[in-house]
């Protein structure tokens, strides 16, 4: 909680939100990082180093939660990738597991049985999809279909712009021949 504000309205007064999202490969390579709370670049690398160390070394049958510096990190492994989200202690860990799964399903649908390579070469797409899922560390959309529709509408905008650009450059090329 960098966004601490005191409130005695209810018993857990900390903000409930996802502070960051991290995708790390089994080899410890970072595949995606998204920060919703302010961390300096230095802090970011430290967090990544620390957490990937802990998570990669955890045994397979243990629970998916790590208590870490007063926060909780919920992680889940899909094939060679660990999806991690850092939340506040009072947050609903089980729901965050569902959010991770939700994200993975959307990625899967988008790439057509997603694998790590998709997320390496199209890392920006993974970010775009995450941005349709979370804003300000909060869930934005519970319908996978809706996310897919909005992403594809934007992809089409990009495609259209590309086509336009290439047709213009063809015209210019023709004209200057």
């Amino acid at each position: 909680g960098t966004d601490d504000h005191s409130s005695d309205l209810f018993w857990e007064s900390r903000i409930n939100m996802i502070h960051f999202v991290l995708l790390v490969s089994r080899q410890g390579k970072v595949r995606l990082t998204k920060w919703y709370s302010p961390y300096t670049q230095k802090e970011r690398s430290k967090v990544i180093r620390e957490l990937s160390g802990v998570i990669l070394n955890r045994g397979p049958k243990l629970c998916n939660f790590i208590e870490w510096r007063g926060y909780k990190v919920v992680y889940k492994r899909y094939a060679s990738l660990y999806f991690c989200m850092c939340i506040d202690e009072a947050d609903n860990e089980l729901e965050v597991l569902e959010i991770i799964h939700h994200y993975v399903e959307i990625l899967d649908r988008y790439f057509g049985s997603v694998c790590e390579l998709d997320l390496i070469f199209n890392f920006h797409k993974a970010y775009y999809i995450l941005d349709e899922l979370l804003i300000a560390g909060e869930l934005q959309e519970s319908s996978k279909k809706t996310v897919a529709r909005i992403i594809s509408a934007q992809d089409q905008l990009v495609e259209a712009a590309k086509e336009e650009a290439s047709s213009i450059s063809n015209i210019i090329a023709q004209a200057t021949k």
């Binding site: 990082t33 049958k61 629970c63 070469f121 941005d131 869930l139 934005q140 959309e141 905008l157």
Partner: protein, 872 residues
């Protein structure tokens, strides 16, 4: 487009980076790419920007610096096309954070994009703003965002809602502007909008009381209906997760209801039915259902008392606890900790299961369970729970022993029904996990043992037996050695046998074996070895028949490579050899250690005395609060009080004469000039006299009668000229001087009456109290104290009153103060007369309370003064 300088494509760059076999190779590739990107940035070709930024983001993820690309993000965002903006905003969110000044430059572009005709551009801007906006940007752009909450397209409405969430977190003052817009979102059918709308309302409720009241009045019933509809809804493939329609929406609705119900019986009443329905009807065989149940339990426990619901909630947690899924058990343990607050009994029923969780292979679960168990301990179950935990300590993973043993110790200390039980349990912990036990814990054990005089024999025998088996447990060895040194005679003679004990045969030589073992074992640390040496010195007097053997062991240490050990060995040898007449009194049993004061110091909650080594020990800035074991132990207080830290641990270290675990000693470096002399002093319970008061302090420290009254006492001979150069006795010559120079002639100062240095008796941010002392001739028991109260604040204190209390051995008389008004930066004085009936044995100590009015308000300050010069 395809300019000659376009460099590699993103895909090719990623490939070549992935092809690198070593980190150095990767650095090389990245360096070259970064150089190309910089060159390309300098050329300022808009067509390359998109690709440059994509590359930079990839490089950034690998952990390389990419700050030089930040401006490119801004340029891309400012370009007209959607593709450029899309990558520009992505880069902005990845490469920058809200604390960077550069971010402010984007405010204008954001404002334009929030008003863009293309809704996807608006979406990009909302997303960026919602993820990284600073308070300043939040203020600037809040009106735009508020307007967008009502936008025609739901995609924009939901983004605006979450963006508002961030805005009100950053600037809580803006909350009320959003109340109306937020409440309109609660009527939506679109799940995305509803989810984000509920989230925004939740946020507003936690920030703003007005919002909370508003939503409670206007929206509770509507929200309940929404929750009921969604709970009862038919199968909807778009939102179905494991048989539950939109668990995410469920959870957010439950969360908002929690805030609305908390502290409001009427609202709580309204939601009872639906909560009961969710609690009973939700499928619990999949994670999604359990996530909803978990949230429902949280809400039930937070809203106003509806006991029937709480039974439901506790039952759910009970089921969770016996679930085979580790995740579910983990959250159950978490929730049960909260449930203790209102239904301890219900949680106690699950004690056996919870104890099992302490033994779980999963560290996260163990940790939670251990926390929970420690909350469940009470006077009735402490023995049983402790037994279970200690049994487990024997077989637990090494890396869990530290946490576990710490928790057991704290439970045992807190709930111990009797001393013998406490000692037994602590011995078990030290035997199993002694190397993990913190200093303050074993120090506390020694204090307790010291106080349990009827158990001295029992304890020393139990420790002797334990240490034979668990000689690798450092702290166990230390406690054992200390006790053997103190109570060795009880060990060999089976003195004070309890009914439960089996007699054991321990010869004097057996007892010395244990100590010798500790001193010669190569992995014993400095503290242990030093304690062993002290124990040997003590035993040389307790066991005269084998004192030659003991002497041999001590002499061997003269060759120790550790300077401290060497010095002690030489000094002790000298005592054994040449001062037989005083030896027995020198090494008398330690007086009973004061538990109360030790605990106060241990708690460490009070301000520490802040003087440093560099300062002379006589001028202690603030002796208040560091309660004195000193007078009780008749120990040298000066160096203790002057030590940089006043924690109980350090203190007891001094008391045990083992102040040498310091890095300087261990690294074999020469200890500071002070250490050597101090140590000897400590060991002999002498303390380090400061030149100004050396003679008196040594007297006190030796636990003997007063200075001049009893010169026949052998120990008094020590009183005389403890030489002023004592602090430099690191040289061997100095040491012998110290012991040889014990002439019985009283020192000059002792006859003339020493001068006592003034002290700062108390100091807070507003008030300082100084004491100066004088002795009326003829009555050494009496001391006149002039107290000067100095107002450090810029305000006047009125109705100033100083009160003081002293222990029974002191008598106190207060004269009226010079005034009861203390002007800003001014001072007043007051005379006190103290009569010390234990003069020469005990030091002055005083509790005080100061009351005054500051700006019409009553102020009370309290403290304990324990830095009186010795000998008053």
């Amino acid at each position: 487009m395809n300019s000659i300088f376009s460099g590699t494509r993103l895909r090719d760059m990623i490939r070549s980076i992935r092809a690198c076999k070593t980190a150095a190779e990767e650095r090389g590739v990245v360096r070259k790419e970064c150089a190309d990107i910089r060159a390309s940035i300098n050329e300022n070709d808009p067509h390359d920007r998109h690709r440059n930024l994509a590359k930079l983001m990839f490089i950034h993820m690998l952990g390389y610096p990419t700050h030089f690309g930040q401006m490119e993000c801004l340029k891309l965002i400012a370009s007209p096309g959607f593709p450029e903006k899309r990558i520009g905003y992505l880069g902005l969110m990845l490469l920058l954070d809200e604390r960077q000044e550069v971010l402010m430059l984007v405010t204008n572009s954001l404002k334009q994009d929030l008003n863009h005709t293309n809704q996807y551009v608006v979406g990009l801007a909302l997303c960026a703003l919602g993820n990284i906006c600073s308070a300043e940007m939040a203020r600037d752009l809040a009106p735009e965002v508020e307007r967008l909450i009502q936008f025609r397209d739901p995609n924009i409405r939901k983004k605006a809602a979450l963006c508002s969430t961030r805005i009100v977190r950053k600037v809580p003052d803006l909350a009320e502007n959003f109340i109306n817009a937020a409440s309109s979102l609660l009527k939506e059918k679109h799940h995305g909008v509803l989810i984000t709308g509920v989230q925004l309302c939740y946020e507003l409720c936690t920030i703003n009381d007005e919002a909370l009241e508003y939503f409670r009045k206007k929206c509770t019933e509507g929200l309940i209906k929404t929750l009921r509809d969604i709970t009862n809804s038919a199968y909807q493939p778009e939102y179905d997760v494991a048989g539950i329609t939109d668990p995410f929406l469920h959870i957010r609705l439950l969360k908002l209801l929690r805030v609305l119900g908390h502290g409001d019986a009427d609202a709580s009443d309204l939601m009872t039915d639906i909560l009961a329905q969710v609690a009973t009807k939700t499928e619990s065989n999949k994670n999604a259902g359990n996530a909803v149940l978990y949230e429902c339990v949280e809400t039930i426990m937070a809203i106003e008392d509806t006991s029937s619901l709480r039974v439901l909630a506790i039952n759910i947690l009970g089921r969770f606890l016996s679930n085979r899924d580790n995740n579910i058990r983990y959250v159950a343990l978490n929730m049960l900790m909260k449930a203790i607050a209102f239904d301890d009994q219900a949680v106690q029923r699950h004690r056996v299961t919870i104890l099992e969780c302490v033994k779980d292979p999963d560290a996260s679960i163990r940790k939670r369970a251990l926390e929970l168990v420690s909350l469940l301990v009470n006077e009735n179950n402490v023995k049983q729970l402790t037994k279970e935990l200690i049994d487990y300590l024997e077989i637990s993973d090494e890396d869990f022993k530290e946490d576990l043993s710490a928790k057991i110790c704290s439970i045992v200390e807190k709930f111990s029904p009797e001393k013998i039980w406490y000692i037994d349990q602590m011995l078990k912990v030290l035997s199993e996990a002694g190397k993990f036990v913190k200093d303050d814990v074993w120090h506390a054990l020694i204090v307790v043992i010291s106080n349990a005089s009827e158990l001295h024999g029992y304890t020393v025998r139990a420790l002797y037996k334990a240490v034979l088996t668990y000689s690798e447990q450092e702290t166990l060895v230390r406690v054992a050695i200390w006790c053997i040194g103190e109570y060795g005679d009880l060990l060999v003679n089976n003195v004070g046998m309890l009914g439960i004990e089996d007699p054991i045969t321990v010869t004097e030589s057996d007892a010395v074996d244990v100590v010798e073992d500790a001193i010669t074992r190569h992995n014993s640390d400095m503290t242990t070895k030093a304690m062993a040496l002290v124990a040997l010195l003590k035993l040389s007097s307790r066991f005269p028949s084998i004192s030659e053997r003991i002497k041999d062991i001590i002499v061997k240490q003269k060759g120790s490579l550790l300077l401290e050990m060497q010095q002690r060995a030489i000094e002790f040898n000298s005592i054994v050899d040449r001062h037989k007449n005083i030896r027995s009194s020198l090494v008398e049993r330690m007086p009973v250690l004061d538990e109360a004061t030790f605990n106060v110091r241990r708690a460490g909650s009070l301000p520490a005395s802040v003087s440093t080594m560099a300062k002379p020990s006589v001028s202690i800035p603030n002796g208040v609060a560091a309660a004195p074991l000193v007078d009780l132990l008749d120990l040298g207080s000066d160096d203790i009080m002057a030590a940089p830290s006043s924690s109980g641990a350090d203190f007891l270290q001094d008391l045990l004469g083992v102040d040498l675990g310091s890095s300087s000693a261990q690294s074999g470096a020469t200890p500071g000039p002070k250490a050597g002399a101090d140590l000897l002093m400590d060991i002999l319970s002498i303390g380090t006299p400061s030149p100004a008061q050396n003679n008196t302090s040594s007297i006190d420290l030796l636990s003997t009668a007063g200075i001049n009254n009893n010169p026949s006492n052998a120990l008094d001979t020590l009183s005389s000229p403890a030489p002023p150069h004592i602090a430099t006795t690191a040289s061997a010559g100095g040491m012998f001087d110290l012991l040889d120079g014990l002439s019985p002639s009283p020192s000059k100062e002792a006859t003339n009456g020493p001068a006592y240095p003034p002290i700062v008796a108390y100091e807070s941010s507003t008030l300082k109290i100084e004491f100066t002392f004088s002795k009326p001739s003829g009555n050494p028991q009496e001391t006149n104290v002039q107290a000067t109260f100095i107002n450090l604040s810029p305000n006047t204190f009125t109705d100033f009153i100083f009160q003081a209390a002293v222990p029974k051995f002191l008598q106190l008389h207060l004269d009226p103060a010079s005034s009861n008004t203390l002007p800003a930066s001014g001072n007043i004085t007051q005379n006190l007369r103290v009569t010390n009936s234990q003069h020469g044995k005990k030091s002055l100590v005083m509790r005080m309370r100061i009351g005054y009015k500051l700006n019409g308000k009553d102020v009370l300050e309290e403290g304990q003064i324990n830095n009186f010069p010795r000998g008053l």
